[in-house]
Every structure is written in C-alpha cells, then in structure tokens.
Amino acid sequence: MSAEAGPPLLEVRDLRTWFETPQGTLRAVDGVSLTLERGRTLGIVGESGSGKTVLARSILNLLPKRAAIPAGGQVLFEGRDIRGLGVREMRRLWGLEMGVVFQDPMTSLNPVVKIGQQLTESLREHAGVGRGDARATAVELLRSVGLPAPERRLDEYPHQLSGGMRQRVTVAIALSCGPKLLIADEPTTALDVTVQRQILDLLQEQQRERHMGMILITHDLGVVANRTDEIAVMYAGQVVERAPTETLFRRLQHPYTEALMGSIPRLEHRSHTPLRAIPGRPPDMVDLPEGCRFAPRCRYAQERCLVEEPPLVDGVLEGHVHRCFFPVGTEAGRRALARNEAAGATAADVVVG
C-alpha cells in the first residue's frame, strides 16, 4: 500500500469510549480498530447513534473529560499514543497536525468574530506567523477553497455568507496550518446537493494536493462511494465491516451493509419500486442485545447469533474484515438465509418473506 517508512499516520487500536448515564453505561464506541496512511481517505459510514461522531471526537481527544470514559484502546498518531495527552499538548496537535470540519458551519464558526480573524487565529498562535503575513496567507487560503472576493470576506461575519460559503471557510480554517490529518464529520449533511457536490470536490482536491490523510464521516453511502480508498461501516458502536471501497461495493459481506444498501432509493430504479427496509430499530446502547448487535434485525440470523458475539474476521478478499458468522456471498450465509426463508422467520423472529 504505502511505501513510506515509519508508523502509519493514524492507528486506532481496540478503542472504547463509554459514557456514564443515569440509565447505565452507554458504550458509544466499543472496540474499534482502524489504520489510515498519509495521502489516503477513509470513509466511516453509519446511521445516527452508531458511534461515528464519538469515534471522531475520541481520535481528536475532543470529548468532555467528565462525561466520557476512555474504557480502553489506543489512538496512535504517527506512532504516539495521544489518548492520555493533556490539553496543552493537544492544542499543539489540533493547531498544527489535525484539522476538522464539522456538520454545521453556523455553529462551528464564531458568529461575532470576523472571518479573517477566525482564519488567522491558529496561524498566529501555532505557526508564529505575524499579523501582515497571516492576512496574506488568509487571502490565499480563501482563494484556494474557492471563495470569491477573498479580500472583502476577511472583514465579514459568518452570517453574511451562505451555508456553502461558510463551510468553505471552515475548510480553510481546518487547512490553515497544513495539517497531516483532516477529519470531516458529516461536512455536507446540512447543504443542498449541488453545494454538497462543490464541497466534496473541494475536500477531495485539497486532500490530494496536500497529501493528507482524511477521514470522511457520513450516513450516506453515496458520499463515500467515489471519494474514499477504504470504508468502515459502523453499527451500534462497532465496525461491522471494513474493506477497500471497490471491494465493499462489489463484494460486501455483512448483512447490515447489504440491508443499508437495499434501503437506499436508487435513481436507476423505476418509480414505486418498493424499498428493502430494515425492520426494527437500532439497539438501545445502554442495554445491548447479547450476541451479534444486528441479529434482532438481520435476515440471516441463526440461534448462534443470539448468544455469541461475532469477532472481527477476515473476509474473502484482501484487506476485508467483518463481524458475521453467516456472511453474505458465502455458503454459510446462503444456507442461513435459505433456512430462515423456509421457516418464514429468523431465530430472532424477524419475518423473512
């Protein structure tokens, strides 16, 4: 894969982030492992509550110390475990090495500070750039993210820009110190499709140009299909399947990934084509089911899935891992489905027609 020597840019090992709640312990991220090399893009896909945002914030060490329990695992940034680092050291990392773009640019920008000042803050703080140089760099940055009339924008406030323009500004801020890692958490969810397209193009172009490692987090499989090298699918706090992008779409193996694909309305289908909806709802993260977390909604579920938790195992193709005893596209999977179809229901009493 990568010919570069040394440790990978980012390595997440068996990461667990839990929260103490009045209802009990909420296992938001529960045993996630990932690797990201420089110059590569990793997509993380999951529905709300799957733990993808907590995962991103755990990687960034951006979780409230009082609420979150680092229940185990490591986050290695260039080989160094950053999980235990204090705020001082993290500030340096956030400033210089890691950039982040969040979903809602209106809340991630300060409404009462001019664009220019927000943009140059970390440059002056971390890169030791003087006032005049910072302004010139800021203009350059705004131009590179495609903001028209950048000189004028520096003296404007966020509310004077449209949603798409604001997101361009947050991208510029994230890129200002030339980070090695860029995390984009649902960067286009609040935007219209034509603007989403512009912002995704921009992120991809900047990632390539700067040879950054990028993590693109989204609930939309369409967003990651053509813009990532590898994809991790999350469900109930775990990565249930991880594979190179091509492989995931051509030879997916986890029933949840299959079900997710089946529930997306497709443009190429005729109108009124019934969707293959996933029955039920994601589990209560405080009271997780025994065995496989997806089993209560899965078409393939057998008795074993209800009592034994499937470990992460290698799939058919290289670089492909999944958590399933009866994976899609294998003999075991075919038999499990045939058995459920014959019985009319799964071991968890989900009707299979």
């Binding site: 449209s162 512009q198 939309d220 779409f249």
Partner: protein, 334 residues
C-alpha cells in the same frame, strides 16, 4: 410579471387539486419583496402523487403551505375538487381541512409533547360538535394501520418515541380524518436511511389503502422518484420542468434538472459525475434575475434567456419544460 405558462395543465374530470398562477410574496425590509413563488401552476389527478423537488429556497415548501392556505397565497387560485380554497372564509376553510392534510419534516416537534398519542390522533375527530361516537375504535385502527400497536402506544407521549415512530403518529393523525389529499413536506429528510425506507414504503401502502392523492415535497431526487407518478422541478420560485417520474430522470430536458441529477452522490464506485459541479449559488429571491431565473448559473444561457422568460412547453407526451434551449437527447441510463 411574466408567467411560466400553463401548457402542462390537463383537462380531465378526475382532477383533485388544481393550482393556477400561484404567487406567494412576503414583505422584506426597506419595502422590498421576497418573491417566494412566482406564477406556478400544476394539477393532480385522483390517486396521483406529484413530487415537488428543488433545493432550499426554491419555494417548494411555500407552495405546499399555500395549498393549505397557511398563509393564503398573494395571488392565484387553488381548487380542491369544486371548491376554490382562496375564497373560503375561516370557517369554510376549517370545514375543508379534513380533506386536506399535511405531514412535516420534523415529526417530533410537530407533535404536542404534553399530549398522549391517543388524544393527539383523536383531536381532528373531536374538534367538531358532530364528532363520531366511535372515535376510540377509529384511533386504534389507524394506529394499527401505520404499524403501531394501539395498546402499547396510546397512553404514551411523543418523547418516548423515535423519529420514525413519531412520523408514523403524525401520519395516523392525518389519516384518521380520511383525507382526499395528503401533503408531505420533507417527511423523511430528518430520518436515517433504514427508517426512511420504512416510512416511504408505509406512505405507498397508506396511499393505496386510504385512496390518497399526494403532494410529496423533498430535496432528494431519488426519494421523490421512488414515490411519485409525476415530478415537478422548482428553482427560485418557478417551475423548470414537469413530467412522468421515470421520463424526467431518463430524459431530463432542463439544464437545471440535469445539474441536480449529476450532483447526487451515487452509492456505486465508478459513477463519479463527468460534468463540472453547478457553479455559484442561488440568487436572491428579493431581486430574481430577469427572464429565466436559472440563467445566471446555466451553461446554456444566452442573451435571449435574460430578455425573455421561457414558457412551459411539451417536449414529449406529458413532459414539459420551461427553457429556450432544452436538452433533447435521451440521457439514457446514467
């Protein structure tokens, strides 16, 4: 103000809803006017679903609300079967409400948090003096129809339910009145993909069971295509194109429709769109461009587009476009 034409309106006996030259304007600061919807016309036949699609600010929600007379439009006509809604007084309008129901984007905030589900759903039936005596039975039946267990949910309150379940409750609240027309304003945009599919399938099933005619408003073209018979594409308060759902996607004629379709990220590798992204942003609805409102971002625009507003005209049977230079090639399977 120039019109967008009415060539796409049909002469049929089974029209349930007909919107003619609808204009909705709002006052803005310094005496300016927001032109939210400017001369939009369409009709919907019995049992049809019309999809209204476009990006934020295109006027699709305002159009939906103007049909409901919430608020009444600035000009134009909205006919529900033989009733002209814009001429009704408050009481007359309230009397027609049971025939014309609506569900919204955020199902949780459109339910009263303090009211039990049973009472929320029954409210529409109880509001009149002549309320039926089988309210409880009807409420149970409709809850069951939308996939909820009446015994388990009736006494609970909205906060105990997920977004998808709340949307089912909202749907039950509308359906209990046995409406003719259901207007759905972005009913699935706040939901996760797996739940979205459940609700879309449910809407299709309820449409058949309750004999509904629907207006389905959404920004996601794939979602709109899935449930609609005909689709109308809006841009900055105007109709661009209207046609059968399948034809509109296979042979879209308006450059804006093509840009929208090209911008949709597809869940298949190797489908990266070849065309460049649509440049620029939506112009202000306070001072919309002259002539064709899309011309400032259109790759095909000429001087004619600035001078003369395009009128709706047929490009194929039941397929209409408001453009001086429409695409005429079949784009086939994208």
């Amino acid at each position: 103000m120039a019109g967008s034409g009415t060539a796409h309106l049909r002469e049929r006996d089974d029209l349930v809803l007909r919107v003619d030259h609808l204009v909705v304007e709002f006052p803005a600061r310094h005496g300016a006017t927001v032109h939210a919807v400017s001369d939009v016309s369409f009709d919907i036949a019995e049992g049809e679903t019309l999809g209204l699609v476009g990006e934020s600010g295109c006027g699709k929600t305002t159009t939906g609300r103007a049909i409901m007379q919430l608020p009444p439009p600035t000009a134009g006509s909205v006919r529900l079967r033989d009733t002209e809604l814009t001429e009704l007084d408050d009481r007359g309008l309230r009397r027609t409400r049971p025939q014309l129901q609506m569900i919204f984007q955020d199902p949780i905030s459109s339910l009263n948090p303090r009211r039990r589900i049973r009472d929320t759903v029954a409210q529409g039936l109880r509001i009149w003096d002549d309320q039926p005596d089988d309210v409880a039975t009807r409420v149970d039946k409709v809850l069951y129809d939308v996939g909820l267990d009446p015994d388990a949910v009736s006494d609970r309150r909205p906060h105990e339910f997920s977004g998808g379940q709340c949307q089912r409750i909202c749907l039950a609240r509308s359906l209990v009145l046995d409406p003719d027309v259901l207007i759905c304003d972005e009913p699935v945009s706040a939901l996760d993909v797996s739940v979205q599919a459940q609700i879309l399938n449910l809407l299709e099933a309820m449409k058949a069971r309750y004999g509904l005619t629907m207006v389905f408003i959404a920004h996601d073209l794939a979602v709109v295509k899935n449930v609609s018979d005909r689709v109308a594409v809006m841009y900055l308060g105007k109709l661009c194109e209207l046609g059968p759902a399948d034809a509109l996607y296979e042979a879209s004629a308006h450059p804006y429709t093509r840009s929208l379709l090209a911008a949709i990220p597809r869940p298949e590798p190797g489908t990266e769109p070849a065309d460049a992204a649509l440049p620029g942003e939506l112009p202000s609805p306070i001072a919309p461009p002259s002539g064709c409102r899309f011309r400032t971002r259109c790759p095909r625009a000429t001087e004619r587009c600035a001078a003369e507003e395009p009128q709706m005209r047929a490009v194929a049977p039941d397929h209409f476009v408001a453009c001086h230079f429409p695409h005429t090639d079949n784009q086939g399977d994208p």
